[in-house]
Amino acid sequence: MTLLHYLVLSGVLFTIGAATVLTRRNAILAFMGVELMLNSCNLALVTFSRIHGTLTGQVMAFFVMVVAAAEVVVGLAIIVSIYRARRTVSVDEPSLLKN
């Protein structure tokens, strides 16, 4: 198993995450897709960090985690708020804004 495999894994995870965002109607699941994308980025960052022999990538990974956490909180707050108002978290359902 070489470092390249990690990169491939990261790419696969990123694709799965993006596919989740594109296909899931449930806001929470779509959001989980985004989180998966962020974490695949972390994996790539750490791997590249290893390849280049620097710590930059790992440091970035820490920041990404923290930012992702903040994003989770804001996202969940919005989703919960919508759920309480509409009893659904489908991203298709609330389509009043369009055209």
Binding site: V21, V34, T56, M60, A70, I79, I82, A85, S95
Partner: protein, 524 residues
Amino acid sequence: MTTFVAPVIDWAALSAILVIAGTGIVGVLVAAFVPASSRRTVQVVLALVAPLAALAVVAWRWSVVVGGGESTLVAGQLAEDGPALAAQAIILIFAVVGFAVMASRLPNGEEAFAPQGAAAPGSAYEEAARRAGLEQTEVFPLALLSLAGMLVFPMANDLLVMFVALEVLSLPLYVLSAMARRRRVLSHEAALKYFLLGAFSSALFLFGVALLFGFSGSISLPDLGTAAATTVGMDGMAVVGFVLVLTGLLFKVGAVPFHAWVPDVYQGAPTPVTGFMAAATKTAAFAAILRLLYVAAPGFGWDVEPVLWAVAIASMLLGTVAAIVQTDIKRTLAYSSVAHAGFALVAIVSLSEQGPSALLFYLLAYGLATVGAFAVVTLVRERDADGNVTGEATHLSQWAGLGRRHPVLAATMTLFLLSFAGIPLTAGFVGKFVAFVAAADGGAWPLVVIAVIASAAAAFFYVRIIVLMYFSRPEESERPGADAVEPGALTRASLVLCALGTLVLGVWPTPVLDLLAQAAKFVV
């Protein structure tokens, strides 16, 4: 293991950011400890004073920096140079006028934000909160924190700082978008869309960062440029990485095809927030694009021009044609903002020397008119059967005949619309002129021709609104009648500032253009 050397931090250079971020944090404490009766006053004062103070600081830094004082800060992560300071100044100006609109109340004491953000729309709890006169004063610290992110953005000299700034400016805006007092369901939907798409695009941005890091072994923009010029192979990674990073930024400016959130969010978000975010976010993101293109891209030696051309053309055309068929004033303005993202891109598409100053001037002109136009939107309200003022009258047909009933307000709106349309003697005209000249200078003649045609077509739908205000009579329709309310003192001040700025920059732009021309040099 190398020994750790503490980075030298030039606090003076960071002071504008610190003032804003610090005030935001103080604002959180105010929300926690100041009694409810005086909380709002304190918050409003803080939110208005802080940008002014920061503006003064930026002016001071300007005097230090222009004339050769450019430098990189904190181990090269931030850059303090002319474009960065100019962008910060412009963002702070938008913050002053934008916050003033946010803080304003209607004559009946109603403010723009929900009494209790957490309360479900239409619930008994919300009704109780409304009766109790609760106010969600957290909007001001949130706006300040977002502003802090925007101020970091133009200075960001490496991709990590850029990413963090991107998130810091976005997260509070997601929340603010959900806070509209009326039409809360729309507001929620706007926030959800903005959030999901924003998170999605920042994930794309981050993956781009990872790829660029993998390609060059560094995340600092100047290093990236150098590495790209020297590294052989791995082109694919660099190309994809660069495109992804650019995507994240173009998303924020709302350029086609990354624009889809713009109309929905601009329509759903509370109007004062829309005005502020349309003007300030766009400026901040464009400032970041500037640095990315002017510092990193030349080293790449790639032709990023075709991509920028395509995006600019698509934005101008789609923004214009879509705006023509809209029936909602906020959506119309949103699509016009998409078109304006295209026009602004024209200025830097050929990476000419005048590009940055032209772009910044364009953004200043556009932003003043935007904040002003959305401020006018907050004032045109529906009335219920009893004549009480209710929600904003955003359907275009409700604006018919406004000019006859409220000549001054309609004239102000007309001024902003004319500026959008780029009619001479308004800031918008000068902005378009310098932007197009900058593009033509770089040899992008065909693009300039397209831009001129697009701006002529765009003028139609601005004129359409003007015609509607002055020459149509209100139609019989099922929609409630609409009328404008008296602006509060703060909104009035904001409108006067925006209108004056639009006029003065149209009639006598020379001083500002000269200032910006001094600011065109990036530190590497």
